[in-house]
């Protein structure tokens, strides 16, 4: 009964979103948009809630629950299993689109102008199309009747983990947040809204979407690091690229909107970029959910779903671009800026970010293109390619970002700051080298470049050499621009983390007997024992390892878990975390008796990567909230 109620909620919201979506376009009437938005949100939430309920009470007559849960699954994971697979995550996605829409309407002071109605209409149409997709191809409430299974197949073990329960909602929230800039761009073109107005109403939402995308991707990377058991933090896997490309475009949009709002420039570009960013998030969904990228060796291609998403993609993206080509009524002011202006700096920033995004997309799709034009030959494009591509872009973006905050609109009067900037970043560079030498006893030239970029960014982001009359003035300035300073500093920390971890990491793979003691990077590592452990839905071999690091002694437990009923084996890594380095042990295979293989790794500065991502998240979040507060 309960799942049917959820299904009814879903269908009602489908009808409602169609009415809301067609309203502004066909009836040309003023609808009570806020009320409709609230009702839609409640209906979708109700539907989501009944799905959660079905999981929590183990209703295995619901096919989706039976496929993704199990009686023995801990209650917290039953809850999170709701969005553990395709159908449920779609509902969550739709729910977040509704929340975005509701938030937009609630903060919008010019409610019921033509522009707001249009934004509401576009959003409702997108929501409608997603609901249609769910109801017709991916209904999570489908029942297995008349004889439901007694137990479910279980949630994929590697998803049974804290980070993975919060990572998808945040990421979906970011993805779906790109709906607002898209809808605003379309509405601006249709209604001829002034550039300053639409850009300033788009900017806080774009920033907020960027914030959620960043934290979602960051959590995903952190999860991969400790859960997949071999210590990598980014794999250039198609699924990751599908999230990275929209992120790059969103960052570009955040910057180009500044120019559109303040200078009435890059108008067409911002309009387009809003469409591109949304398109990229739909494209990512398409690539991941149609299975075309991952199905090379699994045979679970679902062309129906893929076709449906492609239909949604074509309708909205091509529709939006057609409006851009034929109906764009926003005016584009011709104005000039010189090569040393902030405008030009932001132009470069956008070119670099967008070309990088397109290149990564190209590399991700290349194996498919290759297969098509060679008639079935296969090729892999992975980390070495993407690292090769991203390197020149990140260097140029880094150099640019360091001076970005010093540039002024129109033209920058003096470049005197440059000498100080260079000197200061050189001293920070040297200090960092000294720190690294003290910590790791060696200097690796391969890392010098990234460390210099880090120093350059830190000096550039914190504006420590900007001439202020007093320290209080400086603090005041920091306070006013805290969002941008935080996110730019976050970028600096991220660069340092990436640079150090990729050149200073160490690893060794060895076999240990119980009681055996070895030495690794001046640490004594002793395998104390290996015990059997029983979890709620798994059995495991747990290795207890004692580490003596300088004067500090600590114990680490790494596990090899076998989850029933799937029989899937996962590795739980043992990590001693630290600001300057992580010590990472993961259990490998069993050799004779009680001797097992282990992989020992030292991962210096890896925390800085996520710390950087966190600062970017915070910075964009604060900027967004500040803008919203100022407006209301």
């Amino acid at each position: 009964m309960i799942p049917e109620i959820g299904h009814i909620f879903l269908i009602s919201s489908l009808v409602l979103s169609l009415v809301g979506g067609l309203g502004p376009f066909i009836f040309n009437k003023e609808l009570p948009i806020r009320k409709i938005a609230i009702l839609m949100c409640l209906l979708v939430f109700g539907s989501f809630f009944t799905l959660i309920y079905s999981f929590v009470v183990d209703d295995f007559s619901v096919a989706y629950v039976a496929q993704n849960s199990n009686i023995n699954l801990p209650i917290y994971y039953k809850f999170a299993a709701t969005w553990g697979a395709h159908e449920g995550s779609l509902i969550l996605w739709i729910l977040s689109m509704n929340i975005w829409l509701l938030a937009f309407i609630s903060f919008d002071k010019n409610r019921n102008t033509n522009f707001s109605n249009l934004v509401f209409g576009v959003c409702s149409l997108v929501i409608f199309s997603f609901l249609l997709f769910t109801v017709f191809t991916s209904n999570p409430f489908e029942r297995i009747l008349p004889i439901p299974p007694l137990n479910g197949a279980d949630l994929n073990p590697s998803l049974q983990d804290f980070a993975f329960t919060v990572h998808p909602p945040l990421l979906y929230f970011g993805y779906s947040g790109l709906l607002l800039p898209f809808a605003i761009s379309i509405s601006a073109m249709l209604s001829g809204q002034s550039n300053k107005d639409w850009a300033s109403s788009s900017r806080p939402w774009t920033l907020l979407a960027c914030s959620f995308l960043t934290v979602g991707i960051g959590l995903g990377s952190w999860w991969a690091y400790y859960e997949l058991g071999w210590g990598g933090w980014w794999f250039w896997d198609p699924v990751e690229n599908a999230a990275f490309v929209p992120w790059l475009l969103t960052v570009a949009l955040v910057h180009s909107l500044i120019v559109t709002e303040n200078r009435n420039l890059f108008v067409n570009w911002s309009l387009l970029l809003s469409i591109f960013a949304f398109a990229a998030s739909l494209l990512g969904t398409f690539l991941v959910r149609s299975g075309i990228l991952t199905s090379v060796h699994a045979f679970a291609l679902d062309p129906e779903r893929g076709l449906f998403i492609l239909g949604i993609f074509s309708f909205f993206v091509l529709g939006g671009l057609a409006i851009f080509a034929f109906k764009n009524s926003t005016g584009n002011k011709t104005s000039f800026y010189s090569l040393n202006s902030k405008e030009f700096g932001l132009l470069l920033n956008n070119v670099l970010l967008v070309v990088l995004a397109v290149s990564i997309l190209f590399g991700t799709l290349y194996p498919l293109l290759y297969e098509a034009y060679t008639g079935g030959k296969q090729i892999s494009v992975g980390a070495p390619y993407f690292e090769f591509i991203i390197f020149p872009f990140s260097i140029s973006l880094g150099l640019l970002q360091g001076i970005a905050l010093y540039l002024s609109w129109g033209s920058t009067k003096s470049f005197n700051f440059l000498t100080k900037l260079i000197l200061e970043s050189l001293s920070i560079f040297l200090l960092t080298l000294v720190l690294l030498f003290v910590l790791f006893d060696e200097l690796i030239p391969a890392s010098f470049f990234t460390i210099f970029i880090f120093s350059w960014l830190i000096v550039g982001s914190l504006l420590i050499n900007f001439s202020f009359k007093s320290f209080n003035k400086y603090l005041d300035f920091l306070n006013r621009r805290i969002g941008v300073l935080l996110s730019h500093t976050g970028m600096a920390l991220l660069v340092l983390g990436v640079g150090v971890v990729s050149s200073y990491s160490n690893e060794i793979e060895l076999i240990l007997d119980t009681g055996e003691k070895i030495e690794f990077l001046n640490k004594d590592v002793e395998l104390l024992d290996i015990k059997d452990k029983n979890g709620p839905n798994f059995i495991s071999k747990t290795a207890n390892i004692k580490v003596l690091d300088g004067g500090r002694t600590f114990n680490l437990q790494t596990e090899k878990r076998t989850y029933f009923p799937s029989g899937q084996v996962t590795t739980e890594a043992a990590i001693d975390t630290g600001i300057f380095r992580d010590f990472y042990i993961s259990m490998g295979d069993n050799f004779k008796g009680d001797s097992w293989s282990f992989k020992l790794q030292s991962k210096p500065f890896i925390r800085w990567i996520w710390l950087g991502a966190l600062l970017i998240t915070l910075g964009t979040f604060i900027s967004s909230i500040n803008i919203l507060r100022r407006k209301s």
């Binding site: 997949l228 071999w230 990598g232 794999f235 896997d237 198609p238 699924v239 991952t294 060796h297 699994a298 011709t334 132009l347 070119v351 967008v354 070309v355 397109v358 290149s359 190209f362 590399g363 290349y366 290759y370 060679t374 030959k377 296969q378 090729i379 892999s380 494009v381 992975g382 980390a383 070495p384 390619y385 591509i389 690893e507 060794i508 793979e509 060895l510 076999i511 240990l512 055996e516 003691k517 070895i518 030495e519 690794f520 001046n522 004594d524 003596l548 300088g550 004067g551 590795t571 490998g588 295979d589 293989s597």
Partner: protein, 138 residues
Amino acid sequence: MFKKFFSLMLITIIYSLVSANEPKVIYPFEDSVHEERFLSLLNELRCPKCQGSNLAGSNAPIANDLKREVYRLVKSGRTEEEVKTYLIDRYGNFIVYDPPFRPDTYALWLGPLFIFLITLSIILVILLTRFSNSKGNQ
């Protein structure tokens, strides 16, 4: 500071006297150049059976066999290129994450540069038309 350093020294000396057993490294190398080559190869070779994972990141039986084979080849002094060719001859280009630069992959490697140049020329066209337009208007 000194105290800590001293005790560290002491520990190290005692330790080196007491513990004589060599760690049983799975893939031991005498030559550090070989070791680095081996590790970088593991990162650049794809596990054929797994979904999007390299040899370093996989514990699948086939990945372990291939690791052992790569180890044997590197140990016998083969270069990175030779090892890759060896595996490509058996598993096809699919096995390497780093596609070679050949006529059939020119598009892949030069694509980003091409995209960059196209973007630059579009921007130039836009800026130039705007410049000439406004000159005409004046």
